[in-house]
Symmetry: C2
Subunit: 117 residues, 2 copies
DNA sequence: GTTCGTACTGACAAAGTTGTCAGTGGAGGA
DNA sequence: TCCTCCACTGACAACTTTGTCAGTACGAAC
């Protein structure tokens, strides 16, 4: 069940976009850029997102090497997601994207609720 | 008939991605970053893309203010698309995306055919 | 006078993404 | 005992995006 639509593309732009693309991936990465979070913490911090989609996106980000999944073998289970070393190379790119997007919103839409809020 | 899926989102990352997202938008922008092109020139330069999709993406990019459409009132019609002044602010962002993507492909996939080719 | 090229539109099918719902197993609380 | 929490899976419906096909108007080439 892939979440990102693109099959492997040889275009670097597509390749990059396929990593962050997905309805909630950007948001998830912003949340995690403040430090590791448990699955349920992430879910509660993005109430519009369903648990199903969260988990699907998390799995893809882990597959792409952007996130690390760490599980404490306890009951109830405790799984913590964090941005991997490789994932951190993506963060400055997201910042550039965000800067442009913020400016773009000033032309068209309302202020941001996710990043500056 | 929207091509980009996202309704207006207050998140700047989503806002930026909604502009470049779409199966062929990145490629179209790369082509046009070398100078204006006619519709048919663009179509021929990206043979995997159908004319229908090209036109839909072009219209969205014009709507978003990224491209400018200039029509010479001649027969047969001659329409030329170019990157707008505002659109040029997007190009450095695409370059950052491209750089990361190229590196990402080195971890996983083959070399690029669209940008470096 | 039939076909080609140009830049498009509309209707619709196919494919891809997201959302909904139910269910897993075991600890802990009422 | 029943219910909740935790992190997840599977089946499938709903929606979005992409692709296919036909058709428009006009002139020019053959």
């Amino acid at each position: 069940m892939p979440v990102s639509k693109k099959e492997a593309s040889p275009c670097p732009i597509d390749a990059m976009l396929s990593v962050v693309d997905g309805r909630w991936k950007g948001t998830i990465l912003w949340r995690l850029s403040n430090g590791p979070l448990r699955t349920s913490e992430l879910r509660r911090s993005i109430p519009e997102m369903t648990e199903r989609m969260l988990i699907r996106h998390l799995q893809e980000l882990v597959r792409d090497g952007i996130l690390v999944r760490r599980q404490e073998s306890s009951v109830p289970p405790c799984v913590r997601y964090s941005i991997s070393k490789y994932g951190w190379t993506l963060v400055p790119v997201l910042e550039v994207i965000c800067t442009w997007g913020r400016n773009h919103l000033r032309r068209t839409g309302p202020a941001c609720r996710i990043v500056s809020g």
